[in-house]
C-alpha cells in the first residue's frame, strides 16, 4: 500500500505534493498551511489542533464532502477546499 512516489493534491486550485501514507492534515501542515477554516461563530482562523479526530478543527471540504483532514489519508488527485481560512473568502 505504501510506495515512495509523490502524490499530488489540489488545494484551492493549486497543486500540492505530498508523501503516500500522509494524512491530508499532515500534507497541508508540511507545506506550511496552518489555517484550514474560519470558525462559524466569530469567523476566526482555525487549524488542526488534536490530530486524533476529536476536536473537528481540521474539517475541510475533501472531494466535495466535509471531512476531518487529520483522519483522511491522501489520495492522488484529491481536491481540497479550505473553508474561509484566514478570512480569505
Amino acid at each position: 500500500m505504501i510506495e515512495n512516489e509523490a502524490i499530488q493534491l489540489v488545494v484551492d486550485g493549486k497543486p500540492v505534493d505530498c508523501v503516500p501514507g500522509q494524512t491530508v492534515a499532515g500534507a497541508l501542515l508540511a507545506q506550511g498551511i496552518y489555517a484550514f477554516r474560519a470558525s462559524p461563530g466569530a469567523g476566526t482562523p482555525r487549524g488542526p489542533f488534536c490530530m486524533m479526530g476529536a476536536c473537528q478543527e481540521c474539517a475541510i471540504e475533501i472531494d466535495g464532502v466535509v471531512r476531518r483532514a487529520c483522519q483522511t489519508p491522501v489520495a492522488p488527485g484529491m481536491v481540497l477546499r479550505l473553508r474561509g481560512a484566514g478570512a480569505a473568502e
Partner: protein
C-alpha cells in the same frame, strides 16, 4: 460484517487489542472496532509513511505496536478498522460507520477500551492556527515522522513534554523552550515510583541528558498564559507561576497539553457507574477486579475507564478479555484464575509507575478560575468565559442549561474540548457533565442512510376520518 459475535471490543489500542486477543484465545468470537486505519491506538499508533515505518522499527512503542498488529492479524479476531462507533445500545448493539457504510454489530458482551483524550487549559489565543495539543505532536510523529513548525515551544505538564522534545530533536528540530508546570520537587516526588520501572527511568535519564546536551531550556513551574498572532502564531507569553514574572518567546508552533481524560462517552451512554477521580483524568468508570462495570455484560479497560497509561492498559485489557470469556462460559473458574494471574501480578507493579506519572499529569482544575473573561472556552461555537458567566447570572446551573443558554458544546466536537473546562467554571466542586446522547460522533445523514430510498418507507394507511 454486521451480525452476531460473542463479544465486541471497542478500541484497538493496548487495552482493546489485548482484550480481543485474550477473549479470542479462550475461544470467543470477537469483533474488534477501531476508529484508526490500523490497530495500535494512540500510543502504539501505526506508522503510515515509508519513513515513519522505518523509524517505528527502531522505537520501543513502534515495535510493541507492530507486535500487537501482527498478533491480531494471526488471531481469529474480526477487525473493523476505520470505523467510528456512534451508538451503543443495551444488550448490546454497537452502531459504527466505516468506509463501507453503517454496521450494526450485536453481542451479549461488550468491552469498552476507548482510550483517552487530551485536556488543555484554555488561554487567550489557544484557537490560533499553530497551537496544537501535545498529543498531536506524538500522533503526527508516529504516523508521518514529521513535526510541523520551525520555532516550536513545548508546554504543559507530565513526562510527554520530554518525550516530544526528544523526538523533535531526532527530526532535527530544536525546541525553543520546554515550559513545564511542574517544578523539580514534583519530579523528585515521582522518582521512587519511576524507579520501580528501571527501564523507563533509564530512558527518562537518557532523554534529559540529550535535551541538556542540545541546550534546550526547560522553564520550570511555568505555563503559557497567552498566544499571539491572528491567522498564524507569532509567539507565546510564559508566566513563572510562583513569581508571576512573564517572558515572551517567539514561536510559530506551540504544542501544549495538561494531561488526559477518559474518552468515556459510551460508558456514560450505557449508564455505567462512575466516580469523580482527578488522578484518573477527572472521572473513572467503576470496575471490579475483573474489569466488570456496574452494567451486566459491560467491561471497561484501559485509559477509557480511568487514565493509567499504556502498560496497565495492557494488563487490564487481558483481564477484561478473560473475564468476558469466563462469564460466557468458555473458561471455568480455575482456568480463568490461572490465565489471569500473570496479568494481575504485572498490573500491580505497573500501577505504581502509572500513578506517579498520572500525578504529574493531573489537570490544574484550580487554574480554570484564573482564565480571563475574553478567553474562548468552547472552540466550536466561540463561547467565551464571559458568555458562560452571563448565562450563570441568568440562572444556568447545569451543563445542559449552559448549552441552551450559550450553544457551548453544540458544535461538531460535541463538547469534547470544552465540557470539562466549562463544568469546572460552572461548579468547581460539582460533577457536572452533559447528558450523554447518541450519536457520540458526528455522522452525516447521507452516509448513515446509505442506499435508502423513499419508496422503502412503509407508509401506514391514513386513519379513517
Amino acid at each position: 460484517m454486521s451480525g452476531s459475535h460473542d463479544v465486541i471490543v471497542v478500541g484497538a489500542g493496548p487495552a482493546g487489542g489485548e482484550a480481543a486477543l485474550a477473549a479470542s484465545g479462550a475461544g470467543l468470537r470477537v469483533a474488534l472496532i477501531d476508529e484508526g486505519p490500523a490497530p495500535g491506538g494512540q500510543v502504539w499508533r501505526a506508522p503510515r509513511t515509508a519513513q515513519a515505518q522505518a523509524a517505528a522499527a527502531r522505537d520501543p512503542d513502534g515495535r510493541q505496536g507492530g507486535a500487537l498488529r501482527k498478533r491480531l492479524r494471526d488471531a481469529s479476531v474480526t477487525l473493523l478498522a476505520g470505523a467510528e462507533v456512534w451508538d451503543a445500545e443495551p444488550g448490546f448493539v454497537v452502531q459504527c460507520l466505516a468506509a463501507t457504510g453503517n454496521h450494526a454489530l450485536q453481542a451479549p458482551r461488550l468491552i469498552l477500551a476507548t482510550g483517552a483524550m487530551e485536556r488543555v487549559l484554555p488561554f487567550p489565543g489557544w484557537t490560533t492556527p499553530g497551537v496544537f495539543g501535545l498529543a498531536a505532536a506524538t500522533a503526527i510523529m508516529k504516523s508521518e515522522k514529521t513535526l510541523p513548525g520551525k520555532e516550536i515551544v513545548i508546554a504543559g505538564q507530565g513526562p510527554l513534554l520530554i518525550a516530544v522534545a526528544v523526538k523533535a530533536l531526532e527530526l532535527g528540530l530544536r525546541p525553543r523552550a520546554i515550559v513545564d508546570r511542574a517544578g523539580p520537587r514534583d519530579w523528585l516526588r515521582a522518582a521512587p515510583a519511576f524507579a520501580a520501572m528501571p527501564s523507563m527511568l533509564a530512558r527518562g535519564a537518557r532523554w534529559m541528558a540529550r535535551l541538556k546536551a542540545a541546550g534546550v531550556p526547560i522553564l520550570r513551574q511555568s505555563a503559557v498564559v497567552s498566544a499571539g498572532g491572528c491567522s498564524a502564531l507569532d509567539g507565546v507569553t510564559v508566566r513563572h507561576l510562583p513569581s508571576g514574572r512573564e517572558t515572551e518567546i517567539a514561536a510559530d508552533t506551540l504544542y501544549i497539553g495538561n494531561g488526559l481524560t477518559p474518552a468515556d462517552e459510551l460508558h456514560r451512554l450505557l449508564g455505567a457507574a462512575q466516580t469523580r477521580d482527578r488522578l484518573r483524568g477527572g472521572c473513572r468508570t467503576e470496575v471490579d477486579a475483573d474489569q466488570r462495570t456496574s452494567v451486566p455484560g459491560l467491561y471497561a479497560a484501559g485509559d477509557g475507564a480511568g487514565v493509567h497509561g499504556a502498560l496497565p492498559s495492557v494488563f487490564q485489557g487481558q483481564i477484561a478479555g478473560l473475564a468476558a470469556a469466563r462469564d460466557h462460559g468458555a473458561l471455568d473458574a480455575d482456568a480463568f484464575a490461572a490465565r489471569s494471574r500473570p496479568a494481575r501480578r504485572r498490573l500491580a507493579r505497573a500501577l505504581r509507575f502509572a500513578d506517579a506519572s498520572c500525578r504529574l499529569m493531573t489537570f490544574p482544575e484550580d487554574d480554570l478560575a484564573e482564565m480571563p473573561p475574553d478567553c474562548v472556552v468552547c472552540r466550536c461555537e466561540d463561547v467565551r468565559r464571559s458568555d458562560i458567566e452571563a448565562a450563570m447570572a441568568s440562572g444556568a446551573a447545569d451543563m445542559n442549561q449552559l448549552k441552551h443558554f450559550t450553544r457551548l458544546g453544540m458544535g461538531p466536537c460535541q463538547g469534547r474540548m470544552c465540557g470539562l473546562n466549562a463544568a469546572g467554571l460552572l461548579a468547581p466542586e460539582g460533577d457536572l457533565r452533559f447528558t450523554p446522547r447518541a450519536p457520540v460522533r458526528p455522522v452525516s445523514m447521507d452516509r448513515l442512510i446509505g442506499e435508502f430510498d423513499y419508496s422503502d418507507i412503509p407508509v401506514p394507511k391514513p386513519a379513517p376520518l
